[in-house]
């Protein structure tokens, strides 16, 4: 994610941390080096001391990138990823469901790391996620990183930078697959439908379209119905394949997905 003001950052870190704790994961927070740990904890605990017990038992750790790579003083992508890999193993050995890390990328300047090194780390981080119980948000303060770096990170990052909670992003892959990323809630229904209409128009010559929902954190009834209605009306398509998780599949079927001729629901899992 990227943020342009601190309230957006706090909203994201609070939701991410508290949801992880509730799911029984170990949570590591690496705030921007200029932000005191006390402020982080006060934000996480608002409006109640809901994370105090988690801190006491070691489930929630507020640390820094310097501590993560210590005793080595210099950042390397391999060193940092190696430590996070070990921390994931340690979290599961301690009985947690996995590890999630919130990393404010302010550490890049604080440790004097090269932006190119950081970009290599971001684009090569697949091993941290693939088949492992690890979730990560890298937060970029747009006031600290120039537009060129953020654009490059957008391309290099194995995941997606979303502005804030409730965002929806659509990505058309070169192979024509339409990915929806983020939250397809009621506020995003028009955008969701527009992207689908465009994709259907573009794929009319091939008579088939693949839509990937597995990177959605939330699929509303309205967006699910829009998908079904548009697929039903896609007279020129022989196949509209929808890749979805189990919950999305169940929702689409409950809403009548079984009665839409060109629709094929294939179950998959999110690529992280």
């Amino acid at each position: 994610m990227s943020y342009g003001d601190d309230e957006v950052r706090w909203e994201a870190v609070t939701a991410f941390v508290r949801l992880g704790l509730a799911r029984g994961e170990k949570v590591l927070v690496l705030p921007s080096p200029g932000v005191p740990a006390a402020e982080v904890l006060a934000r996480l605990d608002f409006p109640s001391r809901s994370t105090a017990a988690a801190r006491a038992r070691g489930q929630l750790v507020v640390s820094s990138m310097r501590e993560v790579i210590s005793p080595d003083p210099e950042f390397t992508a391999a060193r940092q990823m190696g430590r996070l890999y070990q921390e994931t193993d340690r979290a599961t050995a301690e009985g947690y469901a996995g590890l999630r890390a919130f990393i404010d990328m302010g550490w890049v300047a604080a440790l004097g790391a090269e932006v190119e090194v950081m970009m290599r780390r971001e684009s090569g981080a697949h091993a941290l996620f693939t088949g492992r119980p690890y979730t990560e948000i890298c937060a970029y303060d747009r006031r600290r990183f120039d537009r060129g770096v953020l654009a490059a990170m957008e391309r290099a990052h194995p995941r997606t930078l979303l502005e804030r909670l409730g965002s929806l992003r659509t990505v058309r892959e070169p192979d024509g697959v339409l990915h929806f990323i983020g939250e397809a809630d009621a506020a995003q229904r028009a955008e969701f439908s527009r992207a689908l209409r465009i994709a259907l128009a573009h794929t009319a010559p091939d008579r088939r379209l693949t839509v990937d929902l597995t990177r959605l954190h939330f699929l509303s009834v309205g967006c699910a119905v829009s998908l079904l209605v548009l697929a039903r009306g896609a007279a020129g398509h022989d196949l509209v394949e929808v890749r979805c998780d189990r919950g999305q599949r169940r929702l689409l079927r409950r809403l009548g997905g079984g009665t839409v001729p060109p629709l094929a629901l294939t179950e998959g899992v999110a690529p992280w």
Partner: protein, 150 residues
């Protein structure tokens, strides 16, 4: 979503003691945050997937209905009642009766109304629509849905 019709008196369930988990006023802008807070509470209370996702979806549909048809805002109260996770969403709109929720799933070629509340009622173990404090002459709907935690 359902356009609220004329309010009709609905049976108000007897108040049961419960443990408050979350109380929030919400507008459209706050719905994403509200979903996360509800999911957090549901996870903390032990509601597992896929029921947790269904519960969050149902809450979002009811809250979204309040935003769209009842003045743009509402109030959510989440609490633990025995072995149930109960969510109560109230608004200050004209109110509506549960009778406006379709019994059967509306077809895909019909008007796009009512599916959100239809699904919310479908996934809930307990569901009710009542009128806010009718004895005080207040208007508004109170939608209660609950799911079993065990």
């Amino acid at each position: 979503m359902v356009m609220p019709g004329p309010a009709s008196p609905a049976e108000v369930p007897a108040e049961e003691p419960g443990r408050p988990l979350l109380q929030r006023r919400f507008t459209a802008r706050l719905l994403p945050q509200l979903r996360l807070l509800v999911e957090e509470c549901a996870a903390r209370e032990g509601l597992r997937e896929p029921r947790r996702g269904e519960f969050v979806l149902a809450v979002d549909e009811i809250a979204g209905n309040a935003v769209e048809y009842a003045g743009g805002s509402g109030r959510l109260e989440l609490r633990r009642v025995g072995d149930e996770l109960e969510c109560r969403i109230s608004d200050t709109g004209p109110g509506f009766s549960e009778a406006v929720i379709p019994e059967l799933l509306p077809g895909l070629d019909g008007a796009p109304k009512g599916r959100g509340l239809w699904l919310a009622r479908l996934v809930a173990d307990r569901f009710a629509v009542s009128v806010a404090a009718p004895e005080a002459g207040a208007t508004g709907a109170v939608v209660t849905l609950a799911v079993q935690l065990r």
